[in-house]
């Protein structure tokens, strides 16, 4: 037992650790340190609690901690990188569960002692039950979808919205009832938990696998709220602070993620109902056939900023946009970030022999960076991003594969072999040869629509802010 004041200050220190730690997690350089700092904060919080709270049954605590830590550590160690998101979902769910249990325990204690539950306590207990439970079941579904325990596709049925609404109202009603009738009501208690669990499931089920990361981030923010509510229940500041932090920063992160996937939060949450938004379509491109996937400038920027090998494929569009200077600037930027950039010059790119040479020479691109088709083609496999700027026919796989195509037999740049492809065009118009280009529908291809010069400048300023 230590004086409560000290404990409070200890908690304050812990909170500070969380705050600073969370901030640091935001940028690559400081992230690892940040994570460690917040871990320290957690340790402090735990120790303080153990010293402060009058622990009677160490055994209980001991069991819980040992078991929990063991399992947690094991999972963290054994999971392979590819299934990280699932794991996060799982852990997140546990967090929610913990909140439910704590709030529940408080409730039951009151019930056991036949104590009344003051209104405000009642409210926060209901809230932490609700949010905690939703977080738990929701996260479990998310996990199941990613782990492919269940189908990753969006599951919808008529009346789904209605059902959700009803359950929501039910919970509110029961909650209200409990709060008003100050005496503990077990039925209400268990029903609220049950319905909340159901609600969580209903909220996540109709969302497609592609959007799961966003959903998880959202649930993560919920689990923060749950913790904060628990904080109110047991009237403990560190819970409130940490919980609120996670809650709000979680929302922000979710928004950022949505932006990066260029879709609105709304259309993540109700995407399954409001079908056909670009990215949603993109998610299901392969299944739904020929729909080109468009990409946001932000995402393209990140891709390029972290790419090691970039090959730029200029075409007539680059000339039309007169974007030769912009493209050079972008290349310089990428190289400043430690990547290497080369230009793949197709013999007939543009509208006159040597068209691309003239342009790039004008922008002072060193000759040795311009590589002929034969020499660059093998390099596409190793390249992280192939950036196709206003080129079309010269990167049309039909020339290789489709004997019926008018350009069949013409040697082309094997852009489609690259790890990822970004194509800059104004629209889906064909090129000189006037034929469709399968490359644009390739799963690894992302279209960055707009005038090449504009897009390039946008990319440049975006990368500079990273």
């Amino acid at each position: 037992m230590i004086p409560h004041a000290i404990a409070e200050l200890g908690y304050l220190v812990a909170s500070a650790c969380f705050i600073v730690g969370l901030k640091r997690l935001g940028s690559p350089a400081t992230a690892p340190a940040g994570n460690r700092l917040s871990a320290w904060g957690m340790l402090i919080a735990i120790i303080v609690t153990l010293l402060d709270a009058q622990v009677l049954s160490w055994s209980a605590i001991g069991i819980g901690m040992v078991v929990g830590s063991a399992i947690g550590l094991w999972m963290a160690r054994t999971v392979q990188m590819t299934s990280m998101p699932q794991l996060v979902a799982l852990l997140n769910g546990f967090g929610g569960a913990a909140s439910v249990l704590v709030a529940g325990a408080e409730f039951l204690r009151a019930e056991l002692r036949g104590e009344a539950i003051p209104v405000e306590t009642g409210v926060v207990i209901q809230l932490s039950l609700l949010i905690g439970a939703v977080t738990f079941s929701g996260s479990m579904i998310a996990w199941a979808k990613l782990q492919e325990v269940m189908t990753g596709r969006a599951i919808t049925w008529s009346g789904q919205k209605f059902m959700t609404a009803v359950i929501g109202l039910g919970i509110i009603g029961l909650g209200g009832w409990q709060v008003s009738t100050v005496a503990p009501l077990s039925i209400a208690f268990y029903l609220v938990i049950g319905l909340s669990l159901l609600l969580g499931i209903l909220l996540v089920i109709p969302i497609g696998g592609a959007d799961m990361p966003v959903v998880i981030s959202l649930l993560n923010s919920y689990s923060g709220l749950a913790a904060a509510m628990t904080g109110f229940v047991i009237n403990n500041h560190v819970l409130i602070v940490a919980g609120a932090l996670v809650g709000s920063s979680g929302i922000i992160l979710t928004r950022i993620m949505c932006k990066a996937m260029n879709r609105s939060l709304a259309n993540v949450l109700f995407g399954a109902f409001g079908q056909g938004s670009p990215a949603a379509a993109g998610g299901g491109a392969s299944s739904e056939g020929l729909v080109a996937r468009s990409v946001s400038v932000e995402d393209a920027a990140v891709q390029l900023a972290y790419a090691q090998q970039v090959i730029i494929v200029p075409g007539y569009g680059l000339a039309v946009a007169q974007a030769q200077h912009a493209v050079r600037e972008l290349a310089d930027l990428i190289e400043k970030n430690g990547g290497t950039v080369r230009y793949a010059i197709h013999p007939v790119a543009g509208r006159m022999p040597g068209h691309m040479n003239v342009l790039l020479a004008e922008a002072n691109v060193p000759y040795e960076k311009l590589v002929d088709m034969e020499d660059i083609n093998p390099a596409f496999e190793e390249c992280d991003v192939a950036l196709v700027i206003g080129a079309n026919d010269v990167v049309n796989p039909a020339a290789r594969s489709d004997p019926s195509s008018p350009i069949y037999g013409m040697p082309i740049l094997d852009v489609d072999k690259a790890r990822s492809v970004i194509v800059m065009k104004r629209g889906m118009n064909p090129g000189f040869a006037g034929i469709e280009n399968a490359l644009f529908f390739h799963p690894r291809t992302a279209m960055l629509f707009g005038d090449a010069k504009g897009s390039l400048n946008a990319l440049i300023s975006e990368i500079k802010t990273l």
């Binding site: 917040s38 609120a244 709000s248």
Partner: protein, 97 residues
């Protein structure tokens, strides 16, 4: 309304604002680590869990408590560990920037 709750609300509000400000623009490579990192923080419920479990307010509470502690602990330990793992692999290449 009890002073305690009010103070709680004040603190909650401030922390919320803080949370909004803390994270501005994050390269997508960091999205997952950040998510699991802050998720680990939400494991703070462990404090509540410990109080409940240790409090010995009758067996139900204790059982609930133990469960809570276990869950929270998984969230905490697992969360921090896995985040650390992600970040370590990340720092290899992205660290350049």
């Amino acid at each position: 309304m009890s002073e305690g709750i009010i103070v709680g609300i004040v603190i909650f509000t401030l922390a919320t604002f803080l949370g909004f400000e803390l994270i501005q623009r994050v390269p997508s490579t960091l999205h997952t680590p950040l998510m699991s990192g802050s998720n680990a923080i939400s494991g703070i419920t462990i404090v509540g869990a410990l109080i409940v479990a240790g409090g010995g307010f009758g067996w139900i509470s204790t059982v609930f408590g133990i469960g809570a502690v276990a869950f929270a602990m998984m969230n905490v330990v697992g969360g921090y560990a896995v985040t650390d793992r992600m970040l370590r692999m990340f720092t290899k290449d992205g660290g350049a920037k």
